[in-house]
C-alpha cells in the first residue's frame, strides 16, 4: 500500500484562522498609521528614534508576520500536502503571542519601558519558535515536496537569528548584559530580519503565487529553488564577516542586494509575459511592491539615504505586497469554504456568489489610491518637510481603514451566505 499518512489536499485550515490573522494585521496597520500621524516627524530627525523602531516592529512583527502566517497556513497544504497538526490550537497560541509580543515591544520602545520590552521580546520569540516548529514538522512529514518548500522553510529559519539577536539587544537595553558597541548587533538583527525573514518568506510566497494567480510562465528552477537559499548562505557569510571584521566577506551583502534585484526583475518580467491580460487591483499592489524593491536596491547601491531605503522596503514592499495577497486569498477562501459547506449540507439548490462578491474591485482600487498617494507623499516629506508626515499618516490611516472595512465586508458577506446554507 502507498503511504499517504499525513497527506491531505483539503483546503485547511478553517476559514476563521486566516480571517483572524488578516483582521489583526489591518488593525496593526491602523495603529502604525496613527503613530505616523502623531509622531511621524520624528522619523526624519533620527532613524533610531523610538517612533522609527516602534513603527518598524509594528510593520514587520505586527502587520507582515500576521499576514504571512495566515497565508502560509493556507499555502502549506497546497505546496507540501501537509497541513499543520493541531492547526486550531497552534494558530490560537501563535496569533495571541504574536499580537501581545508586538504590542508590548512597541509600547516598550515608545515609553520606553524595559519590562514591556522584555515581555514583548519573550512573547515574540515564543510565537516564532512555535510557528517554526509546527511548520517544520509539517514540512518534514511531506512525502516529497521538501525541495519546493525549501525557500519558504529557510525564510522561517531566518526568524530564529533575528529573534535571538533582538532578545540580545533588549537584554542590553534593559541592563542585563553589557555590549560595548550595539551597532554591529543592530545591523545583523536588521539584515536577518529584513533580508532573511521578510525578504525570503515574502518572495518564496510571491514566486509560488504569481504563476498561480496571474497565469504567468513558471519561474526557472534556479530562481525558485536556489537563489533564495543563496541569499540565506550570504547572510551567514555576512554574519561571520562582522565577527571577524573581514572586509572581503562583507561583500556578501552586495550579493544579497543583487540577488533580490534579480528576483524582483524576474517577477516583473514574468508578470509582463503573463497569459491573462486582465489587470486587477491585486496586480497593482504587487507591481508597486516590486518597483519599490528595485528602487530600494538602486538607492542602496548608489549609497543613497538609509531613510529612503528603509521607507521603500517597509512601506513600499512590506506594507504593499501583503495587501495584494490578502485581496486574492480572502475571496477565494470564502468561495471555497461555502462550496465545501454546500456539499456537506447537500444543498444542491444553493449557488455560492463568485469571488468578486466578497472583495469588490472598486473598493480595493479606492484603497490602492490612498495607499499609493501615502507612499509617494512619504518620500516627498523625507525630501522637503517633516511636517508633511502628518498628511502621510492621514493617507495611510485612510488606506488601513479601507483595508479593515474591506476584510470586514468579506467576513459579513461570508457569514450571510453561510447562514443561508445552514438555514
Amino acid at each position: 500500500m502507498l503511504q499517504t499518512a499525513g497527506l491531505s489536499l483539503e483546503q485547511a485550515p478553517p476559514i476563521s484562522i486566516p480571517f483572524k490573522y488578516f483582521f489583526t494585521a489591518s488593525l496593526l496597520f491602523i495603529v502604525a498609521s496613527l503613530l505616523l500621524v502623531m509622531q511621524g516627524s520624528d522619523l526624519v530627525t533620527s532613524r533610531w528614534s523610538p517612533t522609527a523602531i516602534g513603527l518598524t516592529h509594528l510593520i514587520t512583527t505586527g502587520f507582515l508576520a500576521q499576514v504571512m502566517t495566515g497565508a502560509m497556513m493556507q499555502l502549506l497544504p497546497v505546496l507540501a500536502g501537509t497541513p499543520v497538526s493541531g492547526v486550531v490550537i497552534v494558530n490560537w497560541i501563535i496569533h495571541i503571542t504574536l499580537l501581545a509580543g508586538t504590542v508590548m515591544l512597541v509600547v516598550g520602545f515608545l515609553l520606553p519601558q524595559h519590562l514591556m520590552l522584555i515581555l514583548g521580546a519573550g512573547a515574540l520569540t515564543t510565537a516564532f519558535i512555535i510557528l517554526f516548529t509546527s511548520t517544520g514538522i509539517a514540512l518534514l512529514k511531506s512525502a516529497r515536496q521538501q525541495s519546493r518548500a525549501r525557500s519558504l522553510g529557510i525564510g522561517w529559519v531566518s526568524i530564529i537569528p533575528t529573534a535571538l539577536l533582538g532578545c540580545y539587544l533588549v537584554a542590553s537595553l534593559s541592563g542585563f548584559v553589557h555590549i560595548d558597541n550595539l551597532q554591529p548587533i543592530i545591523t545583523l538583527h536588521l539584515s536577518w530580519g529584513l533580508l532573511g525573514w521578510v525578504g525570503i518568506v515574502l518572495f518564496a510566497t510571491i514566486l509560488e503565487l504569481v504563476p498561480m494567480f496571474y497565469v504567468t510562465p513558471t519561474f526557472s528552477k534556479v530562481l525558485k529553488q536556489w537563489l533564495l537559499p543563496v541569499i540565506f548562505l550570504c547572510l551567514i557569510i555576512f554574519t561571520i564577516s562582522r565577527y571577524f571584521s573581514n572586509e572581503f566577506l562583507k561583500n556578501s551583502l552586495l550579493l544579497i542586494v543583487l540577488a533580490f534585484f534579480v528576483i524582483g526583475l524576474s517577477v516583473l518580467i514574468n508578470i509582463y509575459n503573463r497569459k491573462r491580460l486582465i489587470v486587477d487591483t491585486t496586480l497593482l499592489y504587487i507591481w508597486t511592491g516590486i518597483a519599490s524593491l528595485l528602487i530600494a536596491a538602486v538607492v542602496w547601491l548608489s549609497a543613497g539615504s538609509d531613510l529612503i531605503v528603509g521607507g521603500l522596503l517597509l512601506g513600499g514592499v512590506c506594507m504593499t505586497i501583503p495587501i495584494g495577497i490578502i485581496y486574492k486569498v480572502i475571496p477565494f477562501l470564502c468561495w471555497f469554504h461555502l462550496q465545501a459547506l454546500q456539499i456537506k449540507k447537500r444543498k444542491l439548490d444553493y449557488s455560492a456568489p463568485s469571488m468578486k462578491h466578497f472583495i469588490q474591485e472598486k473598493h480595493a482600487k479606492y484603497q490602492y489610491f490612498f495607499h499609493l498617494s501615502a507612499l509617494c507623499l512619504f518620500f516627498v516629506a523625507l525630501l522637503i518637510s517633516s511636517k508633511l508626515m502628518i498628511l502621510v499618516g492621514v493617507l495611510f490611516t485612510c488606506s488601513s481603514l479601507y483595508l479593515f472595512k474591506n476584510i470586514l465586508y468579506a467576513y459579513i458577506a461570508y457569514h450571510e451566505e453561510q447562514n443561508i446554507l445552514c438555514s
Partner: protein, 145 residues
C-alpha cells in the same frame, strides 16, 4: 521512459490557454466567440477530468489505504468546477459580462490551486506508484486530440 506528470501537466497548460482566450473574449464582449471558446474549454476540461476519474484516480486509490484520501478531494474539486461551468454557460447565455467575469475569476483560482496540488503532489505519486499507466494515459490524449 514515459511518465504521467508530463502529459497531465501539459494538458493543464492547454486548458489554461483556451481559458485565457475565453476570458479575453468576455472582456471584449465578443459573445459569439465567447460561446465557442466556452464550448472548447469545457470539452477540454471534461476530457481531462475523465482521464483522471476513470483511469488515474481509481488506480491510485487502489494503492492507498485511505478511503477519504487526496483523490476524493480532487474529485470534489472537479465537481465544484463542473458547477462553475454550468454557471458560466448561464451567464454567457444572458450575455452578462460582470457575472461571467466573476465566474471566470473564481474558476481560474479554483483551477490553478487544484492544478498546483495535482502537479506538486498527486502526479509525482502517480509516477512512483502507478507508472504502468503512463502509456495508456498518453494514448488517451492522442486519441481524443
Amino acid at each position: 521512459m514515459e511518465n504521467i506528470s508530463k502529459p497531465m501537466s501539459l494538458d493543464h497548460r492547454h486548458c489554461d490557454e483556451i481559458f485565457m482566450e475565453l476570458e479575453q473574449a468576455v472582456v471584449r464582449g465578443e459573445w459569439h466567440k465567447t460561446e465557442m471558446m466556452a464550448g472548447n474549454f469545457i470539452t477540454a476540461m471534461t476530457r481531462h477530468f475523465q482521464i483522471e476519474e476513470q483511469k488515474l484516480f481509481p488506480a491510485l486509490e487502489e494503492k492507498t489505504s485511505q478511503a477519504n484520501g487526496p483523490v476524493r478531494v480532487m474529485v470534489m474539486e472537479h465537481d465544484q468546477m463542473r458547477h462553475l461551468f454550468n454557471k458560466l454557460n448561464d451567464a454567457i447565455g444572458q450575455q452578462s459580462k460582470e457575472t461571467a467575469l466573476g465566474i471566470t475569476e473564481t474558476l481560474l483560482v479554483t483551477m490553478q490551486q487544484h492544478n498546483m496540488k495535482e502537479e506538486n503532489i498527486l502526479y509525482p505519486l502517480a509516477d512512483r506508484f502507478v507508472s504502468n499507466l503512463a502509456e495508456e494515459i498518453a494514448q488517451s490524449f492522442t486519441e481524443s486530440a
